[in-house]
């Protein structure tokens, strides 16, 4: 138990198979069973770290309209950690985990980018033909879905086309599913490295 709490600042690790199951099962519960599930207290968030108090009326307004300082408590006069340097949620306006975002950009940057939306966490590359196989081309869509650095927050889709006999024509072709998985692993590895690099140095 104590081990669990010790590691609970690490989002990837602290997701035990049980909590992962709980989180996923929310998507499976049909409305008909909602009440039952509610009674069983089955599928809802369980808090980690220090307990958050329910907001007062004033705090509720701050959550509703935000603050000029971008911080719920106001401007940081002094002290304070550099904004969330251990979890990748800095106040840079990126809507998803910053480590995952940077890692994903790093990973696909050898391909031309068609679009990259840091708020939605979507990176779409343009078609890319490796020089060795000009008759094939690939396109990637990377979706980052969470502000937390967790293994299921990144998903990659790979699209592949091969050139048809007709000049300039391309035809959709199957892509090996393994590729997407490996790309996800790569992004996660890179994100982990970024996180380690940004962790506070030992004294």
């Amino acid at each position: 138990m104590s081990l669990f709490w010790i590691f609970s600042d690490c989002p990837i690790l602290s997701e035990t198979p049980m909590t992962a199951l709980l989180r996923r099962c929310t998507a499976l519960v049909s409305p008909a069973f909602a009440l039952t599930a509610l009674l069983l207290a089955g599928c809802a968030a369980t808090e980690k770290g220090p307990t958050q108090a329910p907001p007062t009326e004033g705090e509720r307004q701050r959550e509703r309209i935000g603050t000029v300082s971008g911080n719920r408590e106001g401007f940081i006069l002094f002290g304070g950690e550099r904004p969330n340097r251990t979890d990748g949620n800095d106040n840079t306006g990126i809507g998803v985990n910053a480590f995952l975002w940077k890692a994903a950009l790093d990973t696909v940057r050898f391909m031309p980018l068609a679009s990259a939306d840091p708020f939605g966490g979507v990176i779409i590359t343009d078609w890319y033909s490796p020089p060795e196989s000009p008759r094939e081309r690939l396109k990637l869509t990377v979706l980052i879905q969470d502000r937390q650095l967790r293994s299921d927050a990144v998903s990659v889709s790979v699209f592949r086309q091969v050139q048809t006999a007709a000049a300039g024509g391309w035809q959709d072709a199957a892509a090996a599913p393994e590729t997407a998985r490996r790309l996800e692993d790569t992004i996660l590895t890179r994100a982990r490295q970024l996180r380690v690099a940004s962790a506070p140095a030992a004294e």
Binding site: L38, A41, A45, G58, I65, F75, Q193, A199
Partner: protein, 428 residues
């Protein structure tokens, strides 16, 4: 695997390796697909432990964060009411506060701090001040000080994020609530318009000095409990905090004010969850307190406080619909009163939030069947519709229209009318 994809993975691994130069494993087929993810998790564990032990060493300079925030809200109101007693039809008001906070971090899982809400305007109601200290860990959170308690803060009621909040908003500041003799159109004391909070939340100890425990949120549930020894003041006023006998200032009309009670205990439970994209928020709360002893030994006695509230909100794709019920029973009434039936209130609301816009409508219906000595219904109905536009983070403008109606059988006057509010709020 197709050649192009192999080439792509190769490119990726080269990038990764040269980007870091730290010798971490790159994509490696030796581990297979699932093996790789397991490895990622495993090594992250080690690194997490490393980072933590480094954090523990850095405890000497435990991070202390001091924050300065503030809030300002301006409301302009246009009032049209039956009984205006020669009052002007328009008026303005503002609310301003400075928020100071300090929080220390003893470890990743234990923080402590203070929060101070300072009101720049000396004439502001003292009850609006909040100042308290807290300790928060994985075991829960303890707060001590002058701040709303568990029943208040865990209560779910009709959506009220638009305008100033509709029935939960500021319209009561603009309307005439008493007849020319000073008698309230609605009730006196508890359940009065002045205490509008108590018509959609259980009558409680406001932000008088108290100790509160909040549990961690587990499986969507959070419970809390508060104890406030006295309803009279929230500052260090010495022995006055120990009075068990009523003074005349504790009595409003024929019922007790908050200050007329002692030994408040408040409990609340609140659930927040999601089922198939439908957000659910539900709450239940109970407040109990003892009425203080009569002013004189043979004087008028009053009923103890026993109030409860329950609420439910459902939200889907930006829409929130919900409502709540409050029952303050005969709390605070003269104990020999002939007519002291339950004071109760219902609230309902619907709102839609999209991008920077929030639009919504809500309504409150409250009633009490009889005064202490006179039979007859007292009823309050409030209907509100409004919208808020968040111009930028921390800056919003809003417009809201309220229709209200008080009716009572036991005094001749009643009042009804409308209030239109336009305003802006800033938070920094």
């Amino acid at each position: 695997m197709f050649w192009s994809q192999k080439r792509l993975l190769y490119e990726v691994s080269i990038r990764l390796f040269s980007a870091t130069q730290q010798g971490f494993c790159v994509v490696n087929s030796r581990y297979g697909e699932t093996g790789m993810k397991k490895l990622l998790l495993g090594t992250t564990a080690i690194i997490g432990a490393l980072a933590l032990s480094q954090g523990a060493k850095a405890q000497a300079g435990a991070p202390l964060t001091v924050t300065l925030g503030g809030a300002f809200q301006f409301n302009a109101g246009y009032v049209n009411e039956d009984v205006d007693q020669d009052r002007r039809e328009y008026a303005g008001e503002y609310d301003a506060s400075v928020l100071l906070g300090a929080e220390g971090k003893a470890s990743e899982n234990l923080v402590y701090g203070v929060k101070l809400q300072l009101l720049p305007d000396q004439n502001d109601d003292d009850a609006a001040d909040e100042y308290y200290g807290y300790v928060s860990g994985t075991w829960g959170r303890v707060e001590a000080g002058a701040v709303d308690g568990a029943a208040d803060r865990l209560t779910v009621f009709a959506p009220s994020d638009f305008g100033t909040g509709g029935f939960a908003g500021e319209y009561t500041d603009f309307i005439t609530t008493t007849d020319t003799t000073g008698t309230e159109f609605f009730f006196n004391g508890i359940n009065s318009i002045a205490g509008i909070d108590d018509l959609y939340k259980a009558f409680d100890s406001d932000d008088q000095l108290k100790v509160t425990y909040f549990s961690p949120r587990f499986a969507g549930f959070q419970v809390g409990a508060s104890f406030a020894p006295d309803g009279s003041e929230d500052k260090d006023i010495g022995t006055a905090n120990r009075n068990t006998r009523l003074s005349t200032s504790n009595i409003q009309g024929t019922t007790l004010a908050v200050s007329g009670f002692e030994n408040f205990y408040e409990v609340g439970v609140n659930y927040v969850g999601e089922f198939s994209g439908v957000g659910v928020a539900a709450s239940g709360s109970y407040v109990g307190a003892s009425a203080k002893d009569p002013v004189t030994t043979a004087g008028q006695e009053y009923e103890d406080l026993a109030a409860y509230a329950a609420g439910l909100n459902l939200s889907y794709a930006g829409f929130t619909v919900g409502g709540g019920y409050v029952n303050n029973a005969n709390s605070g009434y003269e104990s020999n009163a002939t007519f002291d039936d339950d004071g109760e209130g219902w609230n309902f609301g619907l709102q839609y939030a999209t991008g920077p816009f929030i639009v919504g409508a809500n309504a409150l219906f409250a009633e009490n069947e009889g005064d202490t000595a006179t039979s007859g219904n007292s009823e309050l109905s409030v209907y509100s519709v409004g919208t808020t536009f968040v111009v930028a983070p921390g800056f919003s403008t809003f417009v809201e229209a309220n229709m209200f109606e008080y009716e009572t059988d036991y005094i001749t006057d009643s009042n009804d009318g409308s209030v239109v509010l336009v305003g802006a709020a800033m938070e920094f």
